[in-house]
């Protein structure tokens, strides 16, 4: 294992400390929990957005704490859900009287802990709701859509849900819009090299040198199948076909695009992928509202990428184009 770490057991703590040192104007840590929240909570009351999950996904989750995105993050161990107690403490700290919404990914550990936290917070009289992302089409057939896991589509849900909360909408409205974002988002990824778990020094999955895992999850979970690696255009076309037919997307639709690197794939290759994505969308007469190419939700040093498309109606379009300002995601208000 070649990693720049000190004590393998302190990887998450030390990384969080370095993050706070880099962005003291954006985030601060709660005292008795590994939770980061916005250093300045907005003065005008709004619905608070909380997320969380396992570590190892930078810029997710803590990179998205800021205006127009999420207000607080409970930080778990590498690839493992944060404890309910921390999510509860984040909820207590961030409730501004307008309620709290949990926007997180569909994983059994996260669900157990977020739901326990919700029960605890509700006992204190805080209104809490949740929207769970399930964008990875590789992880279950469409008939069983609620069993799908989340991958990079979560970032789009935070972007849209976060902007909706920032605009002053109430809890039920923020929930409705976030659910619309989930419903209209589809992703599919491919992995070529596993992440190495810092504490064990072992790979998260095993793949032959010339193979790729189609439908790989954000923790290295196996997906649809293992295959010999293909050229960028060929695998991109396969992924795009699967995504387009799943929603389905139709000609005349407006959509956002995210080509997300999983940690060890160069931007150069991500742009080669995006070249094909835009060509395919243009062929199907689907217009691109905004494109994000880069590392938005990684899996340690996993190599590979995912593509996420979100179908946008006028409401979702307004919120995806709204201003966002967090340590690792900044966007001007593009509605103007």
């Amino acid at each position: 294992m070649k990693k720049f770490i000190n004590n393998p057991e302190e990887v998450v703590n030390e990384s969080v400390e370095g993050f706070i040192a880099a962005y003291p104007n954006y985030v601060r840590k709660l005292e008795n929990a590994r939770v980061l929240i916005r250093s300045q909570i907005p003065k005008d009351q709004k619905v608070a957005i909380i997320t969380g999950g396992g570590s190892g996904h930078k810029p997710a989750f803590i990179g998205y704490i800021g205006e127009g995105l999420v207000d607080g993050v409970a930080i778990g161990e590498i690839f493992a859900a944060p404890p309910a107690d921390w999510i509860y403490k984040a909820t207590k700290e961030l409730d501004m009287g307008k309620g709290v919404i949990y926007l997180y990914g569909n994983f059994s550990g996260d669900k157990m802990n977020f739901r326990l936290a919700k029960t605890l917070a509700e006992a204190d009289g805080i209104s809490v709701d949740e929207v769970i992302a399930y964008d990875d089409i590789a992880s279950a057939p469409k008939e069983n859509i609620n069993n799908r896991r989340a991958i990079a589509g979560e970032v789009i849900i935070w972007k849209i849900g976060g902007a909706a909360a920032s605009s002053g909408l109430n809890l039920s409205k923020v929930k409705e819009i976030s659910e619309q974002a989930v419903y209209n988002t589809r992703s599919l990824g491919v992995g070529t090299n596993p992440p190495i778990m810092p504490e064990s020094g072992r790979p998260g999955f095993i793949l032959a040198k010339d193979e790729m895992e189609i439908g790989v999850g954000h923790h290295g979970e196996p997906g649809i199948k293992k295959e010999k690696i293909k050229a960028a255009d060929e695998i991109t076309s396969y992924i795009m076909n699967r995504i387009l037919e799943d929603l389905p997307f139709r000609s005349g639709d407006e959509a956002s695009v995210m080509v997300n690197g999983l940690g060890a794939t160069p931007y150069q290759e991500l742009f080669i992928v995006n070249r094909k994505v835009s060509e395919i969308l243009s062929k199907y007469k689907i217009s691109i509202v905004i494109t994000y190419v880069g590392e938005y939700f990684t899996s340690l040093e996993m190599a590979g990428f995912s593509i996420t498309l979100t179908k946008l109606d006028s409401t979702l379009k307004k919120f995806i184009l709204a201003k966002a300002d967090s340590p690792l995601f900044k966007q001007f208000d593009l509605n103007k």
């Binding site: 161990e77 921390w86 778990m197 072992r202 290295g220």
Partner: protein
């Protein structure tokens, strides 16, 4: 045979040590169809329990379970935090005030643990989870305790737990992270079933060693 506070503390410490020794085994099982973090997080949790128990002098076994459960629930997270943590707390509440456990208390401990797990994430035998180990254990143990002593009941039930764990190898998983793999999950033992078997086996080994002076 009775298990007193000192024995119980030693059992929890033995479990922590058994998990530490088996990190690689559990992690590799998890890497085949999960995400490879199970052994690491279980180890982190039980290591903290060990630290807590060594520094505290608690006689009440129920309290010991509650303290241990809170460590898992509040500091570990993952799926195992709520499952084992909630399970320990529920069992601790049921056994509150006890300074020694008889064979019926051991039944209460495991059955209330499984009740708690089922209330958090319902699963039944055949779903390829830790329930495939624990449920057959409890059923067999209950049928044995009325006519057998603690040790032989536990031993008989452990054999069923082992069969249950091994049966997960041929099951297509329906619950949890590996459930999305459908037929690809076949051929691998569920890591939760494996770690819960490891816990039961560790307890049994401890009981055998102490049989002599406890009968």
């Amino acid at each position: 045979m009775l298990i007193d506070s000192i024995n119980f503390k030693e059992i929890l410490i033995k479990i922590a040590e058994a998990i530490e020794v088996n990190i690689a085994y559990l992690t590799d099982l998890d890497a085949e169809i999960g995400d490879g973090d199970h052994g690491i997080n279980m180890n982190k949790g039980f290591k903290k329990i060990k630290e807590q128990l060594v520094s505290f002098n608690v006689k009440d076994i129920g309290e010991m379970l509650i303290i241990s459960g809170k460590v898992l629930l509040n500091e570990i997270g993952g799926a195992m935090g709520p499952l084992y943590g909630g399970g320990f707390i529920k069992a601790g509440k049921m056994l509150k005030g006890k300074i020694e456990l008889d064979k019926f208390d051991i039944y209460t401990l495991f059955s209330s643990m499984v009740d708690s797990m089922n209330s958090i994430a319902p699963a039944k035998v055949g779903d390829k989870t830790l329930i495939d180990t624990l449920e057959p254990f409890i059923v067999e143990y209950k049928s044995l305790i009325y006519t057998n002593d603690l040790l032989s009941s536990f031993g008989g039930a452990l054999a069923k737990a082992k069969e249950g764990m091994e049966s997960t190898k041929d099951i297509i998983s329906r619950v949890g992270r590996s459930s999305r793999l459908l037929e690809r999950s076949k051929g691998h033992i569920d890591v939760g079933a494996a770690s819960s078997y490891l816990i039961l086996e560790t307890i049994y080994k401890y009981l055998i060693r102490f049989k002599g002076d406890k009968d």
